[in-house]
Symmetry: C2
Subunit: 327 residues, 2 copies
């Protein structure tokens, strides 16, 4: 199925020439990459500076993506389009004007919260979920206006449902799975997935072992069977892949994701004290080279050729086309 | 001559609905506005945030310009395109990566220095001019690469000549006059104006009284006669207007321009202790409403209809078309 687009809805790897070559080997046309966890505005600008240098040095392999057409250009030129996103709203600090500034600089997705309470919403690890805040409502409207997609992957359920309801444009959960399949805190109940899909949103299935039933031992068959059950629930037009690949990262990076600068104590997030690092990938998805192989699993789980192409990238491409520009 | 474009190569007014309406009244299609004097990167981002709010609130009068085609769009939609520029390199701090970031945020012109020595070059008020620095050479190449125009209005002559020589793309002096006509420190010797023009650069004639022979009493005839003599020197394709209009600014703003945060003592720049504030405008150019009137003066000084249109905006439009994008 070389004619279908391959789009990964989230990665945060330790970027290198090796990884960009593996993207090409796996035929990955576009990747939404995380460029901020707990970085403030000035720090995220430094990260963009680092990416601009990568775009110069690896211009034969990657370029910065801004629109759906850049995915088509990636396919035509044999490269991978890189789309920026933030996993927390830390880069906009307490300044709504930074929403448009960050979008101009290339940010296409922003999570309203990452595990914890933010200025905008409640994260999935808080004990009480108070929903979207006063500033959160203003920022949702501003994100809608400029075309910065709301990502609720790490948010609590009430906050997620309220964001879906308040937003005038579709919302994304770029990397998570149904909690009915595997009840991790980061996975999503059917009620959330249905509300997301009804409003035109997208769910990217995660390949991060803590989100998989059976963890690192989860089989491709089990993963694709889960995809089939989700399609039964909400149809085939609102699902894709968001691998959450964290390739070649030292364990200090998973600690940065979990603790940032918000705690003096270690927080183990989805791990535990005796399993604190990155878990091993399932053998059928080691890295970008294996991306295309997911399509065979989807076909085996009963998806048609056409529907498989939608899940592998067609749905994300439609979503990119419709949601990355101003209203 | 309503078919010719009207472009002002520099203004720094106390922006208001009143001024944007005067731009429309004067038929000004595009203005290069200063958004930074001594601001660092984070401060200039706040200034861009303020401009984004103006673009929302006054969308019927102004919008952000990025390319020459935006000048044509301004004419077609009866609005004024606003192009951003910096009068010092302070916004890029000591980080060459900020050149591309600032260009992405909309900056189209950057002065390498403002009166004083900078990290990049020497300003026109220093006693010794050591030319372009090591970092200056790197930044010139980077500005060339991304399409950020080098502006040498406030630079010393050796630095200006070296920048013109080192740059692979044309350089601008957005607002200054020939020192052969009026020997202000900020005006430029014929040698500089000729070198600028030979390499395709642009000189914007300033209407700031300290740059005019006779100051506020300078007549339109004398100003246009100076334009005619400059055309004799370098031809008619490399001259335009850069009014340096500082409308409705309190005198504290001229002090900010001159002193910023670099001195504990007052520096009077082109003024003096007993004439420290903004000088009054000449009566034939009070503000944007009088912009079109300059064309009559140019015709009276002997310029053809076609050449007058070039000076009023046609030359700047060609320059915008060729120099605001990557190589």
């Amino acid at each position: 199925m070389s004619e279908s687009y391959h789009i990964d809805g989230l990665q945060y790897a330790n970027w290198s020439d090796k990884i960009f070559r593996q993207m090409r080997e796996g035929g990955v046309d576009a990747v939404h990459v995380t460029i901020a966890y707990h970085e403030d505005f000035r720090e995220v600008v430094r990260n963009i500076g680092d990416w601009n240098l990568r775009f110069q040095r690896h211009a034969d392999l990657i370029f910065m993506g801004r629109t759906g057409d850049d995915v088509r250009r990636a396919r035509q030129t044999g490269r991978t389009a890189i789309f920026f996103g933030f996993q927390t709203p830390a880069p906009i600090e307490a300044d709504i004007g930074l929403v448009e500034i960050c979008h101009t600089l290339g940010a296409k997705f922003m999570q309203l919260t990452y595990n914890n309470q933010s200025l905008l919403a409640t994260g999935c690890y808080e004990s009480d979920d108070t929903g979207i805040t006063r500033m959160g409502k203003q920022v949702i409207a501003e994100m809608n206006r400029v075309g910065l997609v709301i990502d609720m992957s790490h948010s609590a359920h009430r906050s997620t449902l309220e964001a879906i309801d308040l937003s005038q444009r579709p919302v994304a959960i770029t990397h998570a799975n149904p909690s009915a399949w595997h009840p991790a805190k980061r996975n999503k109940p059917d009620e959330v997935i249905k509300a997301l899909a009804v409003r035109g949103g997208m769910l990217g299935f995660s390949l991060y072992p803590h989100h998989l039933k059976g963890g690192s031992d989860c089989t491709l068959d089990a993963f694709c069977e889960m995809a089939a059950r989700t399609a039964d629930l909400v149809g085939v037009d609102h699902i894709g892949i968001g691998s959450d690949l964290c390739q070649d990262q030292p364990d200090s990076v998973v600690e940065w994701m979990r603790v940032g600068r918000w705690s003096r104590e270690i927080d183990y997030g989805e791990g535990s004290a005796d399993n604190a690092g990155f878990p091993p990938q399932p053998p059928w998805y080691r890295d970008n080279r294996d991306f295309g192989g997911i399509a065979q699993g989807l076909r085996a789980a009963g998806f048609s050729r056409e529907d498989t192409a939608k899940i592998m990238g067609g749905n994300w491409l439609r979503f990119f086309d419709e949601n990355f520009g101003p209203i």
